[in-house]
């Protein structure tokens, strides 16, 4: 470990090192985003595993916002239920924020708030932020803004961060804005200097370690965007909606930079559609015409795409739809996280419709599964739904650098002019290979037999309109077979197994909380658990096999209706159904480990 160059070198006996949750309570629009990023990065640069979560309201300015940074030597990145260190900048919520803290927590607060009068079991550090900012600038607007960077300095000294790393982080943050970098640096230093007068009375310390070397920090939306970029997406349509907007916004920036063609022109199109019906309609039009096309949305958009989703399924059109889930039903909580669209997406549309879902659980998987989605869409000729959520999509996560995809793009069964010449024609909806997947042609294929007429109405193998009972039944059963084929093509689950009796099954952003809960169960209660993380629907055979090996399987998810558990109940052999123990919770906050641990213990009858 490198030499710690914190403000004070020695650690007190009861020190809690590199294991804390720091929350900054502000109002949105007050400009704290850079400050929080600087704090996060400073920790990261010190080699301490971190994660950052923004809890923001559904408006633009003036409402309460909380940013939480977790530092964890053990690498836990789930939300921690307790806050250890609070930076209280918002008068409106300060009292409630303080009331919610566990005994022993530390509170850095704007001095005029007088929070120190509220409780005696906490450590309070009042700071005159206005005065600090006034020392840096006279512009009233800037003053308001620089209060934020001032708390960074205060936090840095109190938690023993290396101020050099804070300064590096500020330099990175304002890389191309010299004046901004200078002002912010001054504010941070003012905070750092002021904090000398504060007597450290809490146990929380940061020490340099080496756990982040070579890692990146990225949000899931950017990771999905990169996955699409390297999967060669060419048509991107969208309609803005939180929390998916930044996926397309980030993708647009990458496309501009990395996808100008040889003539300088765009080898992609990004279109802001008039609504989600149009966005998905464009994707289907483009997919039919041979492009790799995608859209990104959230719950309300998914509902609006229902009719087109059925067309895509039935007429067999490749498409990729990202659903960055937020809390529903209805408009719900647009800035809170959930896994509530699983059932809606899996069954989206009327009639006997079923879709393929991909469920990344980490930012690395956002990258790889986004890429896989484009391959699968063309291989299976069907819409693929990639389900992430606000927590995974918009928050900051550490990751190993993404690996360059080694496999060439899988474009599926597309017949060329030459194929048609050789075959003397084709039947668009015939199951030639026994896998339920037919062959297709794309418009513009220069052969008189290339064309077919795509429709959402009943058709025979040639794609001709048909109302015949046999044609309908045959086609629908082939589509079912195709989804069975999908079980083998989709990403297999990730299994951690050691012969335990109790198993956990989870997916998506529940993963970090479950991973941590398994440690808690084992370390605190001696309860060993096996773990399967589902990454796709329809379920691979491995999912069934895993459940066969475990008498009790807790299915952890962030919704009310135990949606993945419901899909499992529908898919499992009936005698296995009783093994499924739904463990579904929805509050809009990212899942924390303690909730999982307690629920499993309750299920096992071991809650003390």
């Amino acid at each position: 470990m490198p030499q710690a160059s914190t403000a004070d070198g020695a650690l007190p006996r009861a020190a809690v090192v590199n294991d804390m949750s720091l929350q900054i309570a502000t109002v949105n629009g007050s400009g704290s985003q850079s400050a929080n990023t600087v704090l996060l990065r400073a920790l990261f640069q010190m080699g301490v595993p971190v994660s950052g979560k923004n809890l923001f309201p559904s408006n633009i300015a003036g409402l309460p916002t909380w940013y939480t940074i977790r530092a964890s030597a053990r690498g836990y990145v789930a939300r921690k239920k307790e806050i250890d260190v609070l930076v209280a900048m918002n008068p409106e919520t300060a009292r409630e924020d303080v009331a919610g803290l566990p005994p022993g927590a530390a509170v850095i607060h704007d001095a005029p708030l007088r929070l120190d009068e509220l409780r005696t079991d906490l450590v309070f550090y009042p700071v005159p932020f206005d005065a600090l900012a006034a020392g840096v600038t006279t512009d009233p607007r800037l003053k308001k803004l620089l209060r934020n960077m001032a708390y960074v300095g205060v936090v840095a000294r109190l938690l023993r961060l290396d101020m050099v790393e804070v300064e590096r982080a500020i330099a990175k943050q304002f890389a191309r804005k010299a004046k901004a970098a200078e002002l912010n640096l001054a504010a941070a230093r003012a905070g750092f200097e002021h904090a000398r007068v504060l007597e450290k009375k809490d146990p929380f310390h940061i020490r340099r370690m080496g756990a982040t070397a070579g890692k990146i920090i990225v949000d899931g939306n950017s990771a999905c965007a990169l996955g699409a970029l390297f999967a060669g997406v060419t048509v991107v349509t969208w309609y803005p909606i939180t929390p998916s907007s930044s996926l397309v916004e980030s993708l647009s920036r990458y496309l501009e930079k990395y996808r100008a063609g040889p003539d300088g022109k765009a080898t992609y199109a990004v279109v802001q559609a008039e609504d989600e019906l149009a966005a998905v309609g464009m994707v289907l039009g483009a997919g039919w015409a041979g492009a790799r096309a995608m859209t990104a949305t959230s719950g309300p958009g998914i509902s609006l795409m229902a009719e087109f989703a059925g067309l895509g399924y039935f007429a067999e059109i490749p498409a990729v739809i990202f659903d960055v889930q937020r809390v529903g039903p209805s408009t719900g909580l647009p800035t809170r996280t959930s896994q509530g669209d699983v059932l809606a997406a899996a069954l989206l549309s009327h009639g006997d419709t079923q879709h393929v879902l991909l469920l990344p659980g980490t930012v690395e998987e956002c990258f790889t599964l986004a890429g896989a989605a484009f391959d699968l869409a063309e291989q299976l000729q069907t819409p693929i739904f990639v389900l992430t959520d606000l927590d995974l999509g918009m928050n900051s996560w550490m990751a190993e650098p993404f690996l360059y995809p080694e496999q060439p793009l899988q474009r599926g069964k597309v017949l060329s002019k030459e194929d048609l010449q050789r075959l003397g024609g084709f039947a668009r909806y015939r199951d030639v290979d026994g896998d339920g997947i037919p062959y297709r042609t794309v418009p513009g294929t220069d052969h008189p037999l290339a064309a077919y007429f795509l429709r959402g109405t009943g058709h025979d193998e040639q794609g001709r309109y048909s109302e015949r009972a046999e044609d309908w039944e045959k086609n629908l059963l082939r589509l079912k077979k195709k989804l069975d084929t999908a079980r083998q093509l989709v990403p297999a689950p990730v299994v951690e197994e050691n012969g335990a009796e109790v198993a956990l099954l989870a997916y998506g952003s529940s993963h970090p909380a479950v991973a941590e809960a398994r440690d808690q169960l084992r370390e605190e209660r001696g309860l060993a658990t096996d773990y399967l993380r589902v990454r796709a629907y329809p379920f691979s055979r491995e999912v069934h096999a895993f459940i066969e090996r475990h008498p009790r399987v807790y299915v952890v998810e962030q919704n009310r209706d135990a949606q993945l558990a419901t899909l499992l109940r529908g898919d499992l052999a009936p005698e296995l159904v009783a093994r499924i123990r739904p463990l579904a919770r929805i509050t809009g906050l990212p899942l924390d480990a303690r909730t999982v641990t307690d629920a499993v213990l309750a299920g096992e009858g071991r809650l003390s």
Partner: protein, 350 residues
């Protein structure tokens, strides 16, 4: 395409410049009612593509849902077709052209498909000036669901069931002009000469060409309301009261000179006043075009002709700065950035 020497268009001749006969532009046999205006439009479509020597494989046919939207099956069998959802063809067409800007796109819709459920996508398509031909086969009713009013039905018209429409019609041409379509016209399904001319102009245009083609529904339509019409059908209905009987009609064919007005008697005895723009009309003035349409509406006339054209506006694909080669067929080397690019990005995130 393979023949660079200019030659006279092969109108009427057996073979076009590609050496293709008219029959190579045909589609399946129609399943619409005999005498339906839509059938005549399909015939003009066959001729127009043939006469302009557009290779059928270079065409995409798109439509929504309705009797009208079935017609892409009845022309150009050698072109790919996409029979989409009710009212949602514009978005599909947009996506298809994004994927392959080299192809010709023709969209066929109905008045219900466009002006009722589809007006939202229509508005935004017009606004984007997407390069395609958009045809409304306009009969003022929902043919396929048996004769309810659409949003282009005239005030006071009466449905077969007896209901009277009380809402004003949407003038899709005035709307299209106002919103940004760059070639806008109206014709009548039975006016072979005018319709063919408009279609060919539209197919040659770069930008959204919107044609509203009045196309009577012989089975359910009644253009002028209960007082003046149902003359013929009424007698027989009186005698038979058989709602499941669909009589077969012959196609109506009209011809009239520019600047004149023609009263057409429809199958149900109702009358339609078609008024053709005069010869010297200048279709480059947006405001005037809209004014003429509003004025004709007040007079109860259906103005026909080419109302507006603007050849200078950038198309949506131009505005997007798209590569010349189709996005759909860009090779992997182009669409997947390099290892170095990923490396650069990873460094920026470290």
């Amino acid at each position: 395409m393979n023949d660079p020497t200019p030659s006279a268009p092969a109108t009427g001749g057996r073979m076009n410049r590609l050496g293709l006969s008219l029959s190579e532009y045909k589609g399946l046999k129609t399943t619409l009612c005999a005498g339906c205006g839509h059938n005549a439009i399909s015939e003009r479509m066959v001729e127009a593509f043939h006469d302009l020597s557009i290779p059928p494989e270079q065409v995409m046919k798109l439509s929504g849902i309705g009797c009208s939207s079935k017609t892409p099956a009845y022309f150009l069998s050698r072109a790919h077709g996409f029979n989409a959802l009710h009212g949602r063809m514009p978005s599909v067409a947009t996506g298809a052209l994004l994927a392959n800007r080299r192809l010709h796109a023709v969209g066929v819709s109905g008045d219900g498909d466009t002006a009722s459920i589809g007006i939202g996508q229509f508005v935004h398509l017009m606004r984007r000036n997407l390069p395609m031909l958009y045809v409304i086969e306009d009969n003022g009713v929902y043919g396929l669901t048996k004769g309810q009013f659409s949003a282009t039905a005239d005030v006071g018209s009466t449905a077969k069931g007896g209901a009277v429409n009380r809402l004003p019609p949407i003038d899709t041409c005035a709307l299209a002009i106002q919103l940004g379509a760059t070639l806008v016209g109206r014709s009548f399904s039975g006016d072979k000469r005018q319709l063919s001319a408009l279609m060919k102009a539209a197919l040659a245009h770069r930008g959204t060409a919107m044609l509203d083609v009045i196309s009577p529904c012989v089975t359910f339509n009644d253009h002028e309301g209960s007082t003046k019409s149902f003359a013929y059908v009424k007698d027989h209905a009186e005698a038979l009261e058989e709602i499941s009987f669909v009589p077969a009609f012959d196609d109506i064919v009209v011809e009239y000179a520019p600047g004149t007005t023609l009263e057409v008697k429809l199958h149900d005895g109702s009358r339609l006043r078609l008024s053709k723009l005069e010869e010297g009309y200048d279709p480059r003035d947006k405001a005037r075009a809209v004014a003429r349409l509003l004025a004709a509406e007040e007079k109860g006339e259906v103005l026909t002709g080419l109302f507006y054209v603007n050849t200078g506006a950038p198309t949506f694909l131009d505005a997007l700065g798209l590569a010349d080669a189709p996005l759909a067929t860009q090779p992997e080397e182009v669409v997947r950035p390099s290892r170095a690019a990923l490396q650069e990005i990873m460094v920026s995130l470290a």
